[in-house]
């Protein structure tokens, strides 16, 4: 088993100390930082996503796996500067919409997107349309990913799209929406570019839109 295979296993099993140690060992063995993503982190999180879909993994397992992935990416990210092959797949501004404090689903999606190679700007919860517009402009984002867990706050997704349009930024970004009460039909009706029914779907969607 190569160090990358071991790292992949450690991430799936949610072992953050091991993930950290394996990443350091791989680097001192002379591996380039860019190898770790396609070789371990991305396939590990794809596997976590698959297990989550099959109901084999639940929120805690997904979160600890993502935490292990982060232990690895935190070491790698500063070393990636200048490495052509691993430019981020895109910049995603994400957040839970205004009036809504639900965090977990959004965090899982953000961590999975991050592990899939996207650069994430997480605005947290209760994120107002103004705050989102400002972040899109500042970060030159090409995606906005919005989460809502309440039927009463879901309407604020529409407000974000309207604010992006008003700010002249709508053509620059793809808007992805998700969360328990959100449906494909709702996403269409507010003019979103995509709907992810779960975290793995959000990753697939983002990948398909950059391709």
């Amino acid at each position: 088993m190569t160090v990358l295979d071991e790292l992949k296993e450690a991430i799936i099993n949610g072992n953050a100390p091991a993930a950290k140690e394996l990443t350091q060992r791989g680097l001192s063995d002379g591996r380039r930082p860019g190898e770790f993503f396609p070789g371990a982190i991305i396939p590990a999180m794809d596997e976590v996503g698959r297990r989550m879909r099959e109901c084999e993994f639940f929120i805690p397992e997904v979160l600890i796996a993502a935490r292990a992935a982060r232990a690895s990416t935190e070491i790698l990210r500063p070393l990636l500067v200048g490495e052509e092959s691993v430019r981020p797949a895109g910049t995603i501004v994400c957040g839970t919409v205004k009036g809504d404090l639900h965090d977990i689903g959004k965090n899982i999606v953000a961590m999975m997107l991050e592990s899939a190679g996207f650069r994430i700007v997480d605005l947290g919860v209760d994120a107002s349309p103004e705050k989102i517009v400002e972040a899109v402009r500042r970060e030159q984002a090409n995606f906005v990913a919005l989460s809502a867990l309440l039927t009463t706050t879901m309407v604020n997704m529409k407000a974000v799209i309207e604010a992006l349009t008003a700010a002249g930024l709508r053509d620059q970004v793809k808007v992805l929406v998700g969360g328990a009460p959100v449906t494909e039909a709702w996403a269409k009706s507010i003019g979103a570019d995509g709907y992810g029914k779960d975290a793995p779907a959000a990753v697939e969607l983002a990948r398909s839109l950059v391709a």
């Binding site: 639940f58 805690p60 397992e61 009036g99 809504d100 404090l101 309440l150 009463t152 706050t153």
Partner: protein
């Protein structure tokens, strides 16, 4: 009317027996029992459908239109379209066997006249007529909240209300329904409307606002705070009730957030605010409400547990009615399921679900992560009733919501454990306390946990007798109570995630 021309109707699963003359529309005796006819008995909806278990009820065109051939063959009928032509045993689709109507004895200060206490639940309404001189309960009526067709939980009710004319519609529904229940109570007790001198209502903040005509918009988003939370006094005339027009109807004040006067009434009933010991009260509803306090201060919070305890969103979940697995035990390593109504099992209700998962953990079939240990996606309990992996996940979410609420209030008390925990509400009364501890829903030994019945109704009754000293605003008690917003606490998500798993050992003690 000669005795031989009346027929007997037995309502399952409660076994209640009614008699009515031959030729009576089935709707009349059922309406008196609190059965709802959502379309007004026009045969346009399927809301009043019943299953005829014994006897016959004729099918008409309206029923052929609304029910499939298979349903008709299985005995399903629309109650509003049937006429009584013989003895019947029927089961009501909308009937909730587990509705609690409190009959606990309580201390009271006699006053003359009659009073009505109403617990306006999100799902269920219970009303009692009392003789204020003797404290005796003269009549009880229960019904499913007629607003329920516009959403099962408080948030979906709020969502319906915020797009006009939703709020007005919900307000009209609940006011008419409580008025009708009061009329039924008076009819049942052969009492006169003019003797009613007081009506006291309790309910969560959304029920309070919708009844009293207060805008629910502030409750639709963070920070979920409404500025009009106090005692609301309306008159029977304003409400269009068949009572003397100046009869007051008082909706008791809310405590904060979604925690309403149902919990204020629970405090009156359990006297937590007078206790030397730290005492807890948990209402295990769709909107879980938690109190932890003593005479010095009382903390309360609400947490969205979702409907799993009521059997909803569970693949074979159902209410606690005939055919529901209500208990699961392990004897000599074998599963034993108790089915309500002694029939073939059709599904599983909340108490059965908690038992089943506890049994699965003890048998090693479910791992502490909640995953089926053998890698299967479902587990057959008995008679074709299965539990799926997703069902276990739903229960994990519900139990984590309650357990993290309790844990966070406990933290604010410096980690002190309550000497006693009262469980309020129907599910709280029926759930096995050892199983609830095993799955970590109520992480306290059974001997510290007491089912307390319908504390909201009991408290509303107590209010009927203590209102003459004050107006029902309970300023002192409300001052003592502090509402804690769980979701606004940055640690909530972490604690919630921790609480999602089960503990390893079968015997957890504190």
């Amino acid at each position: 009317m000669p005795g031989n021309s009346t027929h007997r109707i037995v309502l399952q699963p409660t076994g209640a027996e009614l008699r009515a003359p031959a030729g009576t529309p089935l709707r009349d005796p059922l309406f008196e029992q609190g059965v709802e006819f959502p379309c007004g008995g026009q045969g346009r909806c399927r809301g009043c459908r019943v299953q005829v278990l014994e006897g016959t009820a004729r099918v008409n065109a309206a029923q052929r239109e609304r029910l499939s051939a298979g349903e008709l063959a299985a005995g399903w009928r629309l109650a509003c379209q049937c006429v009584l032509e013989g003895d019947l045993v029927i089961e009501l689709r909308q009937w909730d066997a587990a509705i609690l109507a409190d009959e606990t004895l309580f201390a009271f200060k006699p006053r003359s006249g009659l009073g009505v206490a109403v617990d306006v639940g999100t799902t269920t309404i219970v009303a009692q007529l009392l003789d204020l001189e003797t404290g005796r309960v003269l009549a009880v009526r229960t019904a499913l909240n007629s607003q329920a067709r516009h959403g099962g939980d408080v948030m979906s009710r709020v969502e319906f209300a915020i797009s006009p004319p939703g709020q007005a519609e919900l307000e009209g529904l609940i006011r008419r329904q409580v008025g009708a229940l009061i009329a039924q109570l008076l009819f049942a007790a052969a009492a006169s409307p003019k003797d009613v001198c007081d009506v006291v209502l309790v309910g969560n903040t959304v029920m309070h606002h919708l009844f009293c005509g207060i805008d629910v918009e502030p409750l639709s988003h963070y920070p979920f705070v409404s500025s009009r939370n106090g005692l609301e006094t309306l008159s029977a005339g304003q409400l269009d009730w068949e009572l003397p027009s100046n009869t007051p109807a008082r909706f008791l004040p809310c405590l904060g957030g979604f925690v309403g006067s149902d919990i204020l009434a629970g405090l009156l009933a359990t006297r937590i605010g007078e206790s030397d010991d730290l005492v807890g009260l948990i209402d295990l509803g769709t909107n879980g409400e938690i109190v932890l306090g003593n005479r010095r201060r009382v903390l309360c919070a609400s947490t969205a547990a979702g409907p799993a305890f009521e059997g909803a969103r569970i693949s074979m979940g159902m209410r606690a009615s005939t055919g529901a697995i209500s208990q699961v035990t392990v004897e000599n390593g074998q599963l034993r399921c108790h089915v309500l109504g002694k029939t073939e099992p059709k599904g599983i209700c909340g108490s059965g679900l908690v038992d089943a998962v506890a049994a699965g953990l003890d048998l090693g079939l479910i791992s502490p992560s909640g995953r089926f240990a053998n890698g299967n996606s479902e587990w057959e309990l008995c008679g074709g009733v299965v539990l799926t992996q997703r069902d276990v996940r739903e229960l994990q979410l519900a139990k984590a919501a309650i357990a993290s609420g309790v844990s966070m209030l406990r933290e604010r008390w410096g980690g002190a454990d309550p000497a006693r925990l009262y469980l309020a509400g129907a599910f709280g009364n029926y759930v096995n306390r050892a199983s609830a501890q095993r799955i970590g829903l109520i992480d306290y030994p059974p001997d510290q946990v007491q089912p307390a019945g319908n504390t909201a109704l009991l408290g509303a009754k107590l209010a009927l007798f203590s209102l003459d000293g004050e107006d029902g605003a309970y300023a002192g008690l409300r001052k003592q109570v502090e509402h804690v917003s769980l979701s606004a606490d940055p640690h909530f998500q972490d604690i919630f995630v921790q609480q999602l798993t089960f503990s390893e050992n079968a015997n957890v003690c504190h």
